[in-house]
Amino acid sequence: MEGEQEVLCIEDEHKSSMLQAFRKTIPVMFGYIPLGIAFGLLVTHYGFHWGYSVLMSLLIFSGAGQFLAVALTVAGAGMIEIVLSMLFLNLRHSFFGLSLINRFARTGKIKPYLIFGMTDETYALITGTHVSENAPAPMIYGYITGLNHLYWVTGSLLGALIGQFMDIDLSGLEFALTALFVVLSIEQYRTARTKFPFIAALIAGGLAMIFAESRNMLLISIIIGSLLLMSYEGGRKDA
């Protein structure tokens, strides 16, 4: 009897986590599927086997990284250039992880997958939304990451297989991701104890937008912003 109840309880937790995660990831679905379709189209457009589109979305799971990898291969770039470009492009994810070390400390077996699947959007959802009490946080993190991964792979598969026959114009749907970040910024603003991170973001983002290449903008702005945060915090302690 007791064992049965436990099983039911775990099933409930899964159901509730999945539903919560699904609700949170709906905007990502509307962004990832059309972007995935665009990626699948690109892969087959250059004459690569459609399977590469799915393989890359499964193994890499980084929009910008995958587009860049295809572009560099087509351009015949050397391996050193590819390695350096990828390192630079993806370094922002190292900064993401820095703020997740304690949040991920008790996530158990799924921790490697959570780290593997840390895209911009997954990071935004995991740090930006509150988890309700009837489901454990690690499980919700797992479902958020898994669902986003699924949307991305599904889009890539659709784009590679039937993209060229599809006659629907999905352009602009990716604005759902911009809107998601806007909404999550407001949520962050409401709960933030200090508003300085937003000032740092405006200064750093503005500078990077003007002076950095668009491909490197996010990394450069995160570096400038971190320096601003550190000097602000350092200054406050001294005072």
Partner: protein
């Protein structure tokens, strides 16, 4: 022929991407955490969230009509709606549908010129 090149690139890209994501966890897992990590934990998510909004605007052509007004207007509407109604999905859908309409129509350009 190109397929083999791509396979190698795929594997290298997958390894580097996973490495950059895992790096902070490898580095800090067995050490005492420095004090600044608490600042990072508290202040990074809000900063990065707003930076991601700005990052979405990286390829806007500010010097060509409608001068980025489509993006700015839609962001303004998403933000206003969210502050007013506090319903994330509603704000995102209204903003996205408006954006999809505006990039297909000449409304903003006609108003401006």
């Amino acid at each position: 022929m190109l397929d083999d090149d791509l396979l190698l690139v795929v594997l290298v890209t997958a390894l580097i991407t996973a490495f950059t994501r895992a790096l902070p966890f490898l580095f800090f897992s067995n050490r005492r955490q420095p004090k600044y990590l608490r600042v990072i934990e508290r202040d990074f998510p809000p900063m990065i969230m707003l930076l991601l909004v700005l990052y979405c605007l990286r390829d806007v052509a500010w010097d060509i009509a409608p001068f980025g007004l489509t993006e700015l207007l839609c962001i303004f509407i998403v933000a206003g709606l969210h502050i007013w109604k506090n319903n994330a999905l509603l704000s995102i859908f209204v903003g996205t549908i408006l954006y999809m309409y505006l990039i297909r129509s000449e409304v903003l350009i006609n108003i401006l010129i």
